[in-house]
């Protein structure tokens, strides 16, 4: 039976970040992800905001880890070679009654340790954001807010974790965790049992199921769906900061949030749903997104819509993160109820968990730890000289596969070959961006399928959209029958 020092359950941003932080110590680390790919849950379906920290209630773990995490992003982005932009957050008020609400956010932020918050009036708002609706009368400006690509970050963490010795297993759902009677745990993952001295629970919408197997301190997770529209990057220049809304009579506001790729996210809604894995969007939800986003952005360009998606938050009945060991399950560490500001808090949560685990396991530091991970050089961001050099070294850079996002064949092959690499069309999409543009893989799909089949050594008929049963084709048009020429 495999023995690990630490088993991490869940390959979202918190799980992968924790795996990376744990490799700073001399520990045998394994991460088990149930889905065919890491980053399949909330981590890939959120608003991609690095929150300033004025929203979380003071004194909560959400507030604490939000602010610590926020401050880590500059260094982290450099180490992991991921996009990060500290473009500020703006909360709009649409009437004078909203101004005291904005001021409350300032005080809350100050209590949480957030710097630079101030309330601005219409004129300054127009200067900062000329395309925000004229209906906004005032706003909160939080300069420390930022944006990141949540899946880019998750993959980067995972790659760095593996580089430093962690093992990551996909398509390995954890079906049982129990104490082994000797202070450690037995984990059943992907049909096989392994031993762990410590377990870290980063199982997202399933974190309660995992915790409740080993602890009587029960956690209850309510799946809470958020739906989004994505607007084409040609409109990205219209907004600089992430634009939030104060709740109005209509309910909690939605964001108009530019991403690091210059697309714009509109959303999310917030709706409790019974099925934890139901990632579908709804007519009502999408309509609500547009109705509310219209308060911020008066002329939302329908012709700029490229797609929609939904994410399922792991909302915890405690309404705060559940972090650390429960009283009755030593060496079982929770990172549960990680909904917003989970992405922002992830780097800080990971450090906290890793330090806690290492201390409890009395682990020595790993002198060979290398925090640096290099991204796959992207044709689309290179200048002419860099492109020429890349092509000279690797002619696959001269073959553009995804025309909308200018993604070359070299990047697609590399993202399949890397540790924890792509094994499906969506895997390629989220790592290399092929298929994320205007035509939504209309042009590149068949070529991506070909490259995947070649790199993985499987027939094209076995290529899936996102693993499991998401097959793309039902078979070949001709059976295997061989005939002679008539």
């Amino acid at each position: 039976m495999q023995k690990y020092d630490v088993v991490i359950i869940g390959g979202g941003v918190v799980g992968c970040a924790t795996a990376r932080e744990l490799t700073r110590y001399k520990l045998r680390v394994a991460l088990f992800e149930g889905a065919p790919d890491i980053c399949s849950g909330q981590s890939k379906a959120n608003t991609a905001i690095v929150h300033a920290g004025f929203d979380a209630k003071p004194g909560t773990d959400k507030a604490r880890f939000n602010v610590i995490g926020n401050a880590m992003f500059d260094t982290l982005a450099r180490e992991l070679d991921v996009h990060f932009e500290r473009n500020g957050s703006i909360v709009l008020a649409f009437s004078d009654e909203g101004i005291p609400e904005l001021e409350k956010l300032v005080w809350r932020g100050v209590a949480n340790g957030v710097k630079g918050l101030r309330v601005i009036r219409a004129e300054e708002l127009r200067n900062l954001e000329p395309n925000v609706s004229a209906k906004a009368v005032a706003a909160l400006f939080a300069p420390s807010g930022g944006i990141v690509s949540p899946y880019e970050l998750t993959f980067a963490y995972a790659e760095n974790a593996v580089k430093n010795g962690a093992a990551i297993f996909r398509e390995a759902p954890v079906t049982d965790v129990r104490r082994d009677g000797r202070g450690g745990y037995l984990v059943r993952a992907g049909g096989r049992e392994c031993a762990a001295r410590a377990v870290v629970n980063c199982a997202g919408v399933h974190a309660d199921e995992i915790n409740n197997r080993v602890s009587a301190e029960r956690i209850g997770i309510t799946p809470r769906r958020g739906e989004y529209h994505i607007v084409d990057k040609s409109y990205g220049k219209l907004f600089k900061s992430a634009i939030f809304q104060l709740p109005t009579a209509m309910g909690k506001g939605v964001l108009v949030a530019r991403t690091v790729e210059d697309t714009i996210l509109l959303g999310p809604t917030a709706e409790d749903i019974p099925d934890r894995e139901d990632k579908s969007t709804t007519a009502g939800g999408l309509a609500k997104v547009l109705e509310r986003a219209a308060l911020t952005w008066e002329d939302i360009p329908r012709r700029g819509f490229i797609t929609t998606f939904s994410g399922i938050r792991a909302h915890c009945d405690k309404d705060d993160f559940v972090l650390g060991e429960p009283g009755d399950a030593p060496l079982f560490f929770n990172a549960a109820g990680i909904e917003s500001p989970g992405l922002t808090a992830a780097p800080a949560i990971a450090v906290y968990l890793a330090e806690s685990v290492a201390q409890r396991l009395r682990a020595a530091e790993n002198p060979a730890f290398d925090p640096v991970r290099k991204a796959i050089p992207a044709f689309r961001t290179m200048d002419a000289d860099e492109r020429a050099a890349a092509i000279a070294k690797n002619p696959d850079y001269a073959k553009i596969v995804c025309r909308c996002e200018n993604v070359s064949e070299a990047e697609i092959r590399e993202c399949i070959r890397r540790p924890v690499g792509a094994r499906s069309v969506d895997g390629v999409k989220f790592r290399a961006r092929a298929g994320m543009g205007r035509c939504q893989s209309g042009f590149c799909l068949t070529r991506v399928m070909e490259i995947l089949a070649e790199e993985l050594g499987v027939p094209e008929t076995e290529i899936t959209k996102s693993g499991g049963g998401s097959y793309l084709v039902s078979g070949r048009i001709f059976g295997e029958e061989e005939g002679g020429r008539a």
Binding site: S280, T307, T446, G475
Partner: protein
Amino acid sequence: MREREVGVLVIGGGPAGLAAGIAAKEAGCARVLVVDREDAPGGILKQCIHNGFGLQAFGEELTGTEYAERYIEKAFAAGVEVACGTMAIDLTGGRVATIVSRARGLETVRAGAVVLAMGCRERPRGALATPGSRCAGVYTAGNAQKLVNMKGLMPGKRVVILGSGDIGLIMARRMTFMGARVLACVELMPYSAGLTRNIVQCLDDFGIPLLLSHTVVDIKGRERLEGVSVAAVDETLSPIPGTERELACDTLLLSVGLLPENELSSTAGVRLSPATGGAEVDENLQTAVPGVFSCGNVLHVHDLVDFVSEEAARAGKAAARYAAGETRPRGTVPVEAGSGVGGIVPQFLGEQIEGDVKLMFRTRGIYKKARVVAERGGREIYSKREMILVPGEMVGVTLKKDALGSGREPVRVRIEV
């Protein structure tokens, strides 16, 4: 980085690009380069194995592949350089293009004139914002066509088609021929946008129902499509609650619109028309950027490839003349779309017209026993009675040079019932 100079650079090697390149050569341009990002020329025609092409151009009924081959052979014979596997990634207003290929790496091409012939892309599910699951099994009809005809792969076995344009209808037949069961063709409008011939030979022949005034309102399936919900729509095209019914299927093909692919045009500063999605051009098919011409589906979405070739030939000829030094700015006399007329091309005329001018447009609705009228300066300069006009068939109007006259008066085209 390699640099080269050409007389006419044609971006796109499909039917428009090939015809433009041939015409530029025939007009005397010495160096004509056609670039195409795919590994073989022919554009979308490579996957069009059905017939219906060439009736006007050759007097024969050909398949798309045969039509393409005619032009490929002609281009080769004319001495047009066709570079495949070559993508244009940038174009400046000064007609300097950056192209990239495995064979030659990055190259700068300085062109005397440029012809934009990049064709169009299909509207994807995401742009429709159809709610439901993002499972596998939802394809645009064109992508399904590519999978079947070029890759020999079956998208699925139980098919629903959204959109009754010709691509959707053709795929209804193709999937049926390949052994799939096509359950229905669902059309939002109260009429089909496709040719009657295709309704009969792609749907009726196989007992496939055409559900007019309906749309798909939900897509179901965890990993792979399992079914769609189809609902009736009212006059505002909104789904009528309570009319939903479920169709169990594993494949949904979308034939919901073609969008001219003008990314490159925009970077060059070409002004686009919201009505067509393509460049604003004059009767020589010149855009607002001097020496940059546009033709084919990137200019406006055509029905018959024969008209694409004819239009592209005009663009190629004009480009060659420009490259030879007969430079002139784009015409500025407006061509106006009057009642019943949508998306007219060209949008401008020069003050001095050299020959007859062909206008093309689509009607905004179905018109029976109507008159297509063109007016200038208060005079009628064109009139033609038609039994029927439908949006699915582009209307061509040839304005005679003498009737047009010259000057700055706008020309107005309208439908009169």
